[in-house]
Subunit: 212 residues, 2 copies
DNA sequence: CCTGCTATTGACAGTTAGACAACTATCGCT
DNA sequence: AGCGATAGTTGTCTAACTGTCAATAGCAGG
């Protein structure tokens, strides 16, 4: 980054550690989103937060750890849009409703989500991979709950892996929608719904049979 | 990196520019694969290639450009496993055969592919994104050819975006197979085949209708 | 007002990328 | 053999970045 058109910096000093931590993370997240991770130095972040560079290391140790915490903060945002169990609803209904909730959530947190998933496998950091992996697993777990696949997954762990594959498709499709505008929300919905139902109804019986 | 257990370095000098370029890229690719991008310095690469540091900049300008060229080289590897047009074959047959060729190719170039896709969206570099995007588009173009969707795509460009979504699933699923061993090759095949056929037969009619 | 605690700073050390200049080695040509 | 042209080397210099640590400044409670 060349120059940071300095925002109206808080100009305050001596915050409580938790507040300071949070404020720094917020600034870092914004800068990463705006300029890309590689183009933002610790100096930039410190300036944006109105603090000295040394304080970054005091709070986060190394840059890598700061980076990890930013990603963690981003990924932890989604507070689960409640599966909503309605007695008379079919699996297809529940899938449709859950998908809708997910898409709604993403359309609200557009830039955060794009940054967090774009950051992704930046190469070499085990723990970072694990953080993103965990977020993905949470999404898959929700899918399992919604589709009522719980018992089947216990016997066939590969179903879990397949749903992780599906979540790759969900991410890619959502990028096409939110980032490039090459799909509409409705189209994403139809695509993901049909695909997920196919996986449940057609693929899983075949593929699990193959394994044994 | 502390010390690079020096490979049996070519020890030669005065190569043709093209050869030298290629040799440097090869070394960089190997180091990136082995130690991760962030852990390899220009000095490491120069040492591994048996040349001076300055020559790196002579050939590639900046580190970022070297990095881009490494990724470009990785992505350009797949020499298209020939679609093979057999007259009597159905779409499903052609999809199955093409998928099989793709999986075979990947199982052979396992580590290269994992590195290339893992490197992926490292954040912030437009041109790098474009390179990866282009590789993905090539895969999608092959899928369109195999499935005979050419005419439909001309009228409905969103089909293209959907197939890009599918390619996200293909990547994620393949990672589950090649990297984590949580799926077998057969399972990946069944999953991708069914999903792709569903998209072609069920989703595309629905979704394109929605658009108009 | 003083005193202890701690958030915060500022300067320092080590490393790296990138630019540049001067020099050397090797090839192709006459 | 001699002579350019060009690939490659070495070394240095600058700017920027990260991580560390002793010193400082702001805010409690007595």
């Amino acid at each position: 980054m060349a120059d940071t058109a300095s925002s109206p910096g808080p100009e305050t000093s001596r915050l409580e550690p938790d507040e300071r931590r949070d404020q720094i993370l917020q600034c870092a997240q914004r800068l990463f989103s705006e300029h890309g991770v590689g183009a933002v130095s610790n100096t930039d972040i410190a300036r944006a937060a109105g603090i000295s560079r040394g304080l970054l290391n005091h709070y986060f140790g190394s840059r890598r750890e700061l980076y990890r915490d930013v990603v963690r903060r981003m990924m932890d945002v989604p507070p689960v849009p409640v599966p909503e169990y309605v007695p008379g609803a079919s699996v297809a209904d529940r899938v449709a409703q859950s998908l809708d909730g997910w898409l709604e959530l993403l359309s609200r947190n557009r830039s955060i989500w794009l940054t967090a998933t774009g950051i992704a496998g930046c190469g070499g950091d085990e723990e970072l991979e694990a953080i993103i992996d965990r977020a993905r697993d949470r999404a898959v777990a929700r899918a399992i709950e919604v589709t009522g696949l719980g018992p089947a997954v216990r016997d066939h762990p590969e179903i879990h892996a397949m749903l992780r594959g599906f979540s790759g498709m969900a991410e890619a499709t959502t990028r096409e929608w939110l980032r490039h505008g090459r799909l509409t929300r409705k189209q994403v919905h139809v695509l993901l719904e049909s695909t997920l139902l196919t996986i449940i109804n057609d693929v899983i019986p075949d593929a699990t049979a193959v394994c044994e």
